[in-house]
């Protein structure tokens, strides 16, 4: 009997001590963790809105985001509007997108000019695609090729050509070789996102 009581008391004390210490560590680090999250989100949104902070430091990124980006509603849809330095001229308007990737959801943001004619920026900020293959959708060379491409969605919208093939047409970008399924997902997601964005920008309301 004494053995059992001891066992229970011992385990309870041990669990309490471990819980206390872990909670303490979590509380002590939670500000930092939140800051990291904010920085990551802001950095991703800036990239999606084709805004490029001068440095990669937390302050540059967060300040630029605070100053230049506003969340607005166009046609009942939530959009993120990036302003030029003057705070009035619209640089780009973006929407979040999400869709099915090869392994799991792919999320990010895409933006166009205020009229929705050409793509300004795109970022695939959350995905679990294979590192080195589908995971390359997160790399700069892949996202950079979207800039300036047509957002008008003529025909089937953006077409993905094999990696390395010349993709000079207004609706052509290169896919990632070795990651066919991820590329196909990305194409579907991006074209859908552009449709959403056009719908947000189409009506006369809210234009500037």
């Amino acid at each position: 009997m004494r053995d059992r009581v001891y066992t229970i008391v011992y385990m309870t004390v041990l669990c309490a001590a471990a819980t206390l210490l872990m909670t303490g560590a979590k509380l002590a680090l939670s500000d930092r963790v939140t800051e990291n999250e904010t920085l990551r989100t802001n950095r991703a949104r800036l990239a999606g809105l084709d805004l490029h902070p001068t440095g990669t430091g937390a302050r540059e990124v967060n300040e630029m985001y605070e100053k230049r980006v506003r969340r607005e509603t166009r046609n009942g849809r939530e959009v993120y509007v990036a302003y030029e330095d003057d705070g009035k001229t619209v640089h780009a308007i973006g929407v979040f997108f999400s869709g099915k990737g090869f392994w799991g959801p792919i999320r990010g943001m895409i933006s166009t000019d205020p009229q929705g004619r050409e793509i300004r920026g795109i970022v695939f900020s959350d995905h679990v695609e294979t590192p080195g293959l589908g995971g390359r959708i997160g790399e700069g060379w892949f996202t950079a090729q979207f800039r300036g491409k047509s957002a008008a969605g003529e025909g089937a919208g953006l077409a993905f050509l094999p990696e390395g093939a010349p993709a000079n047409g207004p609706q052509e970008v290169n896919a990632i070789s070795g990651a066919t399924r991820t590329s196909e997902s990305a194409r579907t997601i991006v074209n859908q996102a552009l449709r959403d964005l056009r719908a947000a920008l189409a009506a006369p309301a809210g234009r500037n």
Binding site: Y6, T7, M11, L14, C15, L29, R32, R40, P131, G132
Partner: protein
């Protein structure tokens, strides 16, 4: 069990004679999962060394107070505690690596090496030798992981720690990026290390 190994012996045992990966073939899951990039491998290796040595030390300190029949619970609790702390630390100070490693940091809790050492050594030995035993096992795991990453990252990405090492025209070996590639490298490593260590061992026993 009674004789205390010297520092050097404890480390040599973990690193080579009883190496967790190529001798005991433990901890393979994470060895396959995190070794396609050296950066992630180094963080994972450091994490396991820390968790293995600290949990061995703690188990050893608690060994006389712990009732035998609940020792497994206590072992898991100790390991989980250190791993949770590690996970929090990575999230706060190395957020990118933390995202890359995903669930694998948390899975150190179920890494057979750690509990194996607590159960086989720390629970019956004094704190300092136990600490060294954990350190040695962790270091052995780390060494094997680094060896695998040293092959996989250059062949799979053409880089090492992100720096290009294979020249501009390098064709990436997709297989090396995928977990399957790790099986090949791991098998070759196990073969190579056993070939090197077995002949003298047979003479002794």
């Amino acid at each position: 069990m009674a004789q205390l190994p010297s520092t050097r012996q404890a480390l040599a045992t973990g690193l080579w004679y009883d190496n967790a990966i190529f001798r005991q073939v433990l901890g393979i899951c994470s060895a396959l999962a995190v070794t396609n990039l050296m950066r992630n491998t180094l963080v994972m290796a450091a994490g396991v060394i820390y968790a293995a040595s600290m949990s061995s030390l703690t188990m050893s300190l608690l060994r006389d107070a712990t009732p035998r029949r609940i020792r497994i619970m206590v072992e898991i609790l100790i390991i989980a505690f250190y791993v949770v702390i590690l996970h929090l630390f990575l999230k706060a100070f190395l957020p990118e690596v933390s995202r890359d490693l995903g669930p694998y940091v948390g899975l150190i809790i179920t890494n057979c090496i750690l509990q194996g050492r607590l159960e086989a050594f720390a629970i019956n030995n004094k704190p300092w030798p136990s600490f060294l035993d954990g350190l040695g096992s962790g270091a052995g795991y780390a060494a094997a992981l680094i060896a695998i990453a040293l092959v996989r990252e250059p062949l799979g990405f053409g880089t090492l720690l992100g720096y290009p090492v294979m020249g501009a025209g390098w064709t990436r070996w997709t297989l090396m990026v995928m977990p399957a590639g790790a099986f090949f490298v791991l098998a070759l490593l196990v073969w190579g290390c056993r070939y090197l260590s077995e002949p003298p061992q047979e003479g002794k026993r």
